[in-house]
């Protein structure tokens, strides 16, 4: 039990997917201007990352590995993720309209979000079992959401401040992300 707890905390705080592992930076900078948008995007990433990691684990275990097709991992994973995103979008639209309303517009963006594919690849490289893969991807997704919502909060405040014009927008967003990443360094003492 303790092992899973440590894995969870480690993936969410210590090795935060954005602030320590440099994954998913485009949506991190791109969708962090408003808190409400950030929450939607974060939720969509949590949802898709868990499903993608679980399904790619099954694909690797039961299709690629037995037939010796390990070298096709990249190609297989991106196709699985792209079709999964399409499928999830259709499913939510039909079956869970309220959820589709809040996450729907973010789903197409997720195909090219490297956090989703990155999490799946990390699980393979670390050789996690199925349950660990699900735990790790859930924690990483939540870590992404945490970082995104925090940065959005900071940038909302910054948008009403008087900044030098050259610093406004992306540059100050990146510098703030750097400071946050510095703060997250403190979690390394935890484990």
């Amino acid at each position: 039990m303790q092992e899973y707890f440590l894995l969870f905390i480690g993936a969410m705080f210590v090795n935060n997917i954005v602030l320590a592992q440099y994954l998913g930076n485009c949506p991190f900078i791109g969708t962090s201007k408003e808190t409400s948008v950030a929450v939607g995007m974060g939720g969509a990433v949590v949802f898709v990352a868990v499903m993608a990691a679980a399904i790619t684990w099954l694909v690797q275990e039961f299709v690629l590995a037995p037939f010796g097709l390990g070298f096709l991992q990249t190609l297989a994973f991106i196709l699985v993720i792209a079709s999964l995103v399409q499928f999830v979008e259709m499913f939510l639209k039909k079956m869970v309209p309220p959820l589709y309303k809040s996450l729907g517009i973010f789903l197409p963006l997720i195909t090219t979000n490297c956090a989703v594919m990155g999490i799946a690849l990390i699980c393979q490289r670390e050789e996690f079992g199925f349950f660990k893969t699900v735990m790790f991807s859930l924690a990483s997704g939540l870590g992404f959401m945490l970082a995104l919502v925090l940065l959005a909060g900071i940038r909302e405040r910054l948008s009403v401040r008087r900044l030098p014009i050259a610093m406004r927008g992306t540059p100050i967003g990146l510098i703030m992300a750097g400071l946050m990443s510095l703060a997250f360094f403190a979690f390394q003492g935890m484990i």
Binding site: C26, G30, L75, L79, P108, T112, M167, T170
Partner: protein, 224 residues
């Protein structure tokens, strides 16, 4: 010939990918802890981008508009698999250094963005020039950022010690915070220089580049 040069050279300054378009940030931040890694990653992207632009351009009349993104992804993914195998064979230490960022070239916005914005509308030769220019611009930026961070963080450039007497390396520069801060400061400096030039010509000052997701094919949305 003139047109070819124009498409090639725009990637080198006017539309310099990570700085002017703010695309494909993950590798820009992740693998620029040394100049060598930046250069290696850049060369892998040049290879994939040039060939994917060529293939997409050759197939542009066959690919149906509705499934074009899926087709672009398949083309890019096959080329990335080829790069992975080549790197494993000829540059294994670099392959290990770059880690999961080699397979992640597939989801780099630049590849899909150029396929969608340029290669799917232009003939093969022009598309190749565009891909080569953009790729070299990307390589240049990554190598520059890598050299800067390596210098400030360890006092070395390309692994050669260039530190002067009394130089104190800032260890944080080669870690994650240094990546974010140095890219942010570079963007701000570039915007500042641009604004000084605009002021001289009597134009109003502009804000820094925004994250240009509109040109990223994968999204298909302007509001990201």
């Amino acid at each position: 010939m003139n047109r070819l040069w124009k498409e090639f050279s725009k990637g080198l300054w006017k539309d310099l990918p990570p700085f002017k378009l703010v695309l494909g940030l993950c590798p820009v931040l992740a693998v620029t802890n040394t100049a060598n890694n930046g250069l290696g990653m850049g060369m892998a992207v040049v290879f994939v981008l040039t060939l994917s632009n060529l293939m997409v351009s050759l197939l542009r009349k066959i690919i149906p508009a509705k499934v074009r993104i899926a087709c672009f992804i398949v083309v890019a993914a096959s080329l990335v698999v080829a790069v992975e195998l080549l790197m494993q064979a000829f540059a294994y230490p670099l392959y290990q250094q770059l880690g999961i960022f080699v397979p992640l070239i597939v989801v780099n916005c630049i590849i899909l963005g150029r396929a969608e914005a340029f290669a799917s509308k232009n003939p093969p030769l022009l598309s190749m020039a565009d891909g080569l220019g953009m790729g070299l611009g990307f390589t240049m930026s990554l190598t520059f950022l890598g050299a800067l961070r390596e210098l400030l963080g360890t006092g070395m450039v390309f692994g050669v010690n260039v530190a002067w007497e009394g130089f104190q390396p800032i260890g944080i520069m080669v870690k994650a915070p240094g990546a974010f801060v140095s890219l942010g400061v570079l963007l701000a400096i570039m915007t500042f220089v641009e604004n000084v030039r605009r002021k001289r010509r009597g134009l109003a000052a502009v804000q820094g580049p925004t994250h240009d997701c509109g040109s990223c094919g994968g999204c298909g949305q302007k509001n990201c």
